[in-house]
Amino acid sequence: MSTPSNVLADLQSRSEAMAPAEISPLRRLVWSVRRELWENRSIYLAPLAVAALFLAGFLVALVRLPHTVRAASALGPIQRQAAIEQPYVIAAIMLMAIAMLVAVFYCVDALYGERRDRSTLFWKSLPVSDWTTVLSKASIPILVLPLVTFAVTVVTQFVMLLASSAVLAASGLSVRTLWSDVPFFEISGIHLSHIVGFHGIWWAPIYGWLLLVSAWAKRAPFLWATLPPVAIGAAERIAFGTSHFSSFLQNHFLGGPITGGSDSGMSMDMLGEDPWGWFLLDPGLYVGLAVTAAFLLAAVWLRRWRGPI
């Protein structure tokens, strides 16, 4: 910092009448996330479209609701609750599935697309570091998309409950039973921990891997992303006749602490009272986050080295 030319440069920049205001790294990150949302509108449009479609179907099916509720009342309390809450579970599962698809396609293209259309040359002409860019892209599947999915899910289920309440009230059935069978706030809490914790943070290594491949591949990033895990699994099977690698992946990514149940899918009351405690105590979480960090570090490094394709 003390070479003469640097001193000159410092003096000169200080003497400039309009010294530009500093921009904090956080502000650059926020603008970069916003940029991602401009480019990839599917992040919010896809869940919204699925929700709208589902709601349309659900509203049509409301005609049959009084009949369903009457039929369900004849069942035991557990079967009744299962029958009543089923559409709410389906709505949540559909939204999570679409979010998963969006996340995968987003990650595969995130750092590959900007090289393919050469726009990386424009982005690199701006004072935004490779770190900021990669972090903004990683935040989409890990944080932004889960929050969007959560919000859309909760709003969808709330609309479903309101519409159902109106129909039930009009046909003289108990609205109270509906709200106790589908406990809205409790379900919302479970959704939050499941979608943000599991789909976002627990799966972060997957997104990190996809971003790394996206930064590296010169063509067919999707193939490069899926081939190595499959190849390792196959090689292990041929060489040792075992399948530790694939079962490890399966156990880790499908059987984590906030899976919301491994066999019966998304049952709403299967989690303990303290899912976050479980989650935070699992060493798998921290190993996963460390692996994610390593993948992202490699993606940052690659983004610096790789030019347009």
Binding site: A9, Q12, W38, P127, V128, S129
Partner: protein, 291 residues
């Protein structure tokens, strides 16, 4: 103060040597034209300067190492790498928003003022604009950045004559408005030469010629020699000789103008003619010197 200082700048891609040890100094307030045939290393040199590529040797741009410090360097420098690099999905207003959000030296009002003179609407997406409009937009964005160093690589490639002229006119008027330092690489030598203060010819990764425009005017003379004085002219060791409309055109370096006037009509050579002369005297293939 030297804005760009390169010592032994070298870059290889496998067995191909793109830059073969370049020494370069660009002082504040200069407009340097980097001219050379295809594959001479122009783009590699510019990419090294703006931090897009790694290199061997020493390179300081505005006192920084561009490869390790690109993001910080881009607060005071900016570049147009190619005309077609604006993302096609972005809206004009979004580009303005984003630049205002991340660039401390971006003057949004200035960019909007520039765009108001064009037919580009803020709601348009880049993919809806014509090639010329995309370049106008890119230029409006870059000119509104208060950068001390501007690096341009073939900024007018693929544009028609009208846009090219507009481009360099606005570049020049902006240059006179404030102290800018510009490095521009181009094939369209004739169009930039009135803008430049310095030129560097690159050939096969090396600098083969480097002069200020004043030096060129002082030292280089082109003579359309009378046919009967051609022998006398050749005795003065011309740098280059070519034929044009039946006359020998001889290029001299460092010869007295009065003395040359006796041989025929004397004028200052164009940069393009100089380029052809210098490169063919080296046995090069100046196929890149398109007019």
């Amino acid at each position: 103060m030297a804005y760009i200082e390169a010592r032994g700048l070298r870059k290889t891609y496998g067995a191909t040597v793109a830059l073969d040890g370049i020494d370069l100094d660009v002082q504040e307030g200069r407009i340097l034209g980097l001219i050379g045939p295809n594959g001479a290393g122009k783009t590699t040199a510019l990419n090294a300067i703006v931090g897009l590529t790694s290199y061997e040797g020493e390179l300081r741009v505005l006192g920084r190492d561009p490869w390790t410090d690109r993001a910080r360097l881009m607060r005071d420098a900016t570049f147009i790498a190619d005309v077609a690099v604006l993302p096609r999905w972005i809206r004009v207003s979004q580009a303005l928003d984003y630049l205002a959000g991340v660039h401390p030296g971006f003057d949004r009002a200035k960019a909007e003022g520039f765009l108001a003179k064009t037919s580009i609407r803020p709601a348009s997406r880049v993919r809806e604009l014509s090639k010329g409009m995309v370049t106008q937009l890119h230029l409006a964005l870059v000119m509104a950045i208060d950068a001390r160093l501007l690096v341009l690589d073939e900024p007018t490639l693929g544009l028609d004559l009208l846009f090219r002229k507009q481009f360099y006119d606005s570049l020049l008027s902006d240059y006179f408005e404030r102290s800018r330092t510009v490095v521009v690489a181009t094939h369209q030598v004739d169009e930039v030469q009135h803008v430049l203060t310095d030129i560097v010819f690159l050939d096969r990764g090396r600098i083969v010629f480097r002069r200020s425009m004043e030096e060129i005017e002082e030292r280089f003379h082109e003579v359309a020699v009378h046919p009967d004085r051609i022998a006398a002219a050749r005795a003065l060791h011309p740098v280059h000789e070519r034929q044009s409309v039946g006359r020998g055109i001889l290029l001299f370096e460092g010869q007295d103008r009065e003395r040359l006037a006796a041989l025929g009509d004397v004028r200052t050579p164009s940069v393009a003619d100089l380029f052809v002369a210098i490169l063919s005297s080296r046995g090069g293939q100046p196929q890149g010197a398109a007019r």
